[in-house]
């Protein structure tokens, strides 16, 4: 177990200043017209006081919704091709929840699977995560069923847990140590506060390993169709998801110049699997909904030996049709 320190609220302000002095931008949950958004901040005062989670996930910091991969100009039959340089700023993600901090591993599994994605890695290399444990949860949360927990340390470089008078700080990685080294005087060693006591209670709802074992046998189960009858086929779930990694490539060009862009895509869209022939292997929404579940709970474990869902519940909160992922996974786990 990492040594625990105490970080007071004042010390946190000083730490933010030290981070800024070190040339890092700090992204944190902020309040914006009733929404919680990830925005650049300079002081802990700007961080949302009462938030469960941001609407969008923090994946945008390593996998932006639209990014340039290359660009070119043509003149007199000559093509001048330019590789895009990833716009990677030294960044500290402050206040993301343990579930989301753990999600970067799932992104990494895909972006560094066979070839190493230079854009993703350039950003990830400059990212440090100061997670904050959850002291409350809602009906959409199911981290404990997804291998995590409200105080889980996986993925964070430093994990803070709110306690009386400040935070309990766990320094977990060399990146965390580097942050601590910026202002070691603010981290008081020998903290004795009880971390577990303040954490949110998130009941385990299903056994994911059992579900994974069961999924291959229930591809044709009517449960997928029943659940997805109300699904409207938008991409809200995938776009707010911290682990959804699917992207589209678009070429935007005119006769003189062009660029290749990478952007978020979603398996919920009917166009996602549409072939040029007109054939669509996932013709109906139930097949797309099933794909979403299978990708996260069957294909991910099979291919990457880890899961593609961290149980953050963002999809459930964002869904216009209230497709509650936790509830539907429980149903699947119980289905005959």
């Amino acid at each position: 177990m990492a040594e625990r320190y105490k970080l007071t609220q004042d010390a946190l302000s000083a730490l933010f200043e030290a981070l800024a002095k070190d040339g890092r931008r700090i992204l944190a949950p902020t309040d914006a017209d009733g929404r919680t958004e990830l925005n650049a901040v300079t002081s802990p005062d700007q961080v949302s006081k009462q938030y469960l989670q941001t609407i969008l996930s923090a994946k945008e910091t390593v996998f932006p919704k639209v990014e340039r991969l290359l660009s070119y100009t043509t003149e007199g039959g000559k093509v001048d091709l330019k590789d895009a340089q990833p716009h990677a700023l030294p960044t500290v993600l402050f206040g993301v929840r343990p579930c989301e901090a753990g999600a970067f591993k799932a992104l990494d599994a895909v972006f560094n699977w066979d070839s190493r994605d230079k854009f993703f890695n350039a950003r990830l290399e400059k990212l440090a995560i100061i997670g904050v444990s959850c002291t409350s949860a809602d009906e959409a949360c199911f981290c404990t069923s997804a291998g995590g927990g409200p105080g889980d340390t996986q993925g964070s470089d430093i994990l803070l847990t709110p306690v009386q008078g400040g935070y309990l700080a766990e320094i977990l990685t060399p990146r965390g140590e580097a942050i601590q080294a910026l202002a070691p005087q603010f981290f008081q060693a020998g903290a004795t506060e009880d971390k577990e006591a303040v954490l949110a209670k998130v009941e385990k709802a299903f056994d994911r390993e059992a579900l994974t074992a069961k999924l291959p046998g229930m591809f044709e189960n009517p449960v997928w169709k029943q659940q997805s009858l109300r699904c409207i086929g938008c991409g809200a779930c995938a776009f707010v998801c911290p682990t959804c990694v699917c992207f589209d490539i678009q070429e935007e060009a005119d006769p003189k110049k062009g660029e290749r862009l990478r952007l978020w895509d979603s398996c919920g869209f009917s166009l996602f699997t549409l072939h040029a022939s007109g054939h669509n292997p996932r013709e109906v929404q139930s097949a797309r909904w099933r794909q979403r579940i299978y990708h996260k709970f069957a294909y991910y474990p099979e291919r990457y030996q880890q899961y593609g869902c961290v149980g953050c519940g963002k999809c459930t909160r964002a869904c216009p049709a209230d497709m509650n992922l936790k509830e539907h996974l429980v149903e699947a786990a119980q289905a005959q």
Partner: protein, 267 residues
């Protein structure tokens, strides 16, 4: 609520309908769309003030259409307006869908476009105060400020298409957004792509929008996209004297014309 369940069971048992599209309890005490095909599923139906989704959207979905004859719970007048507009656009045959309207001390069963129109005459259509206030504020802004307002809002757009997919009038098998040979509207959710998308969406709904506000409610990042279609609808109503969802027989304002249409800007 009990009379709604009673009615739904009667209709299902009598074989008059195959399914009821209504509301059930959802996450954190919200209401969600619910398809009931059996007595057991009917018991989950809920009818109260929290039922805000316009269910007409789901009536256009393949899987729901193929269930057979449907009854839809029309807690909101906009569901009936959607049915009228869909009938006018030949997407729903007059009489094909039963509407169950929860009312004081019972449930009203409406079966025809004429019945929908008569019922709607009793419930005047009105924008919420919040929407009207924001519309008025926007209209009063200097143009450049309005441009900045929308650009700021659109900068959050990620083109998840929740607004499009939650709209009962966006039933096209292939949306113009998805037409990519050649690509007409840019796919990426960058500034140009977002501005064009929202302009196209509003324009394609002008004269057809039933003002249910579902698009705005669906937006996960809180862009008031419904004000765009509300505004277009106001413009159509002011200039051509007709709007979406009022009748099952009137042609869409923008599919027709009058030789004496009056404008002030053509040179």
């Amino acid at each position: 609520m009990e009379s709604l369940k009673q009615k739904a069971k009667e209709l299902l048992e009598a074989g008059e309908i195959k399914a009821v599209l209504g509301y059930a309890r959802g996450t954190s005490d919200t209401r969600r769309p619910h398809v009931a095909m059996s007595a057991l599923e009917v018991d989950k139906l809920v009818a109260d003030q929290a039922c805000t989704t316009n269910l007409a959207n789901l009536l256009m979905k393949h899987e729901i259409k193929h269930l057979g004859k449907l009854a839809v719970v029309a807690s909101r007048p906009s569901t009936l307006r959607s049915l009228l507009q869909l009938t006018a656009e030949h997407q729903v045959a007059d009489g094909a869908i039963l509407a169950l309207v929860p009312a004081e001390g019972g449930v009203k069963q409406l079966g025809t476009a004429q019945a929908f129109e008569e019922h709607l005459a009793l419930v005047p259509q009105k924008k919420t105060e919040k929407d009207q206030a924001l519309l008025d504020r926007l209209k009063a802004m200097p143009r450049a400020e309005r441009f900045a307002f929308w650009q700021k809002e659109f900068s959050r757009c990620m083109k998840c298409y929740a607004c499009r997919n939650s709209c009962p009038m966006c039933y096209c098998e292939r949306c113009t957004m998805d037409c990519n040979r050649p690509q007409w509207v840019p796919v990426p959710s960058h500034a140009v792509g977002n501005q064009e998308y929202h302009l196209v969406r509003a324009m394609h709904l002008a004269g057809r929008c039933v003002e249910c506000g579902e698009c705005g409610r669906a937006c996960p990042v809180g862009i008031p996209v419904h004000l765009l279609t509300f505004f277009a609808e106001d413009s159509v109503r002011a200039q051509f004297g007709q709007g979406g969802g009022a009748s099952a027989t009137i042609d869409n304002a923008l599919s027709t014309f009058r030789p004496d249409d009056k404008e002030t800007f053509i040179r």
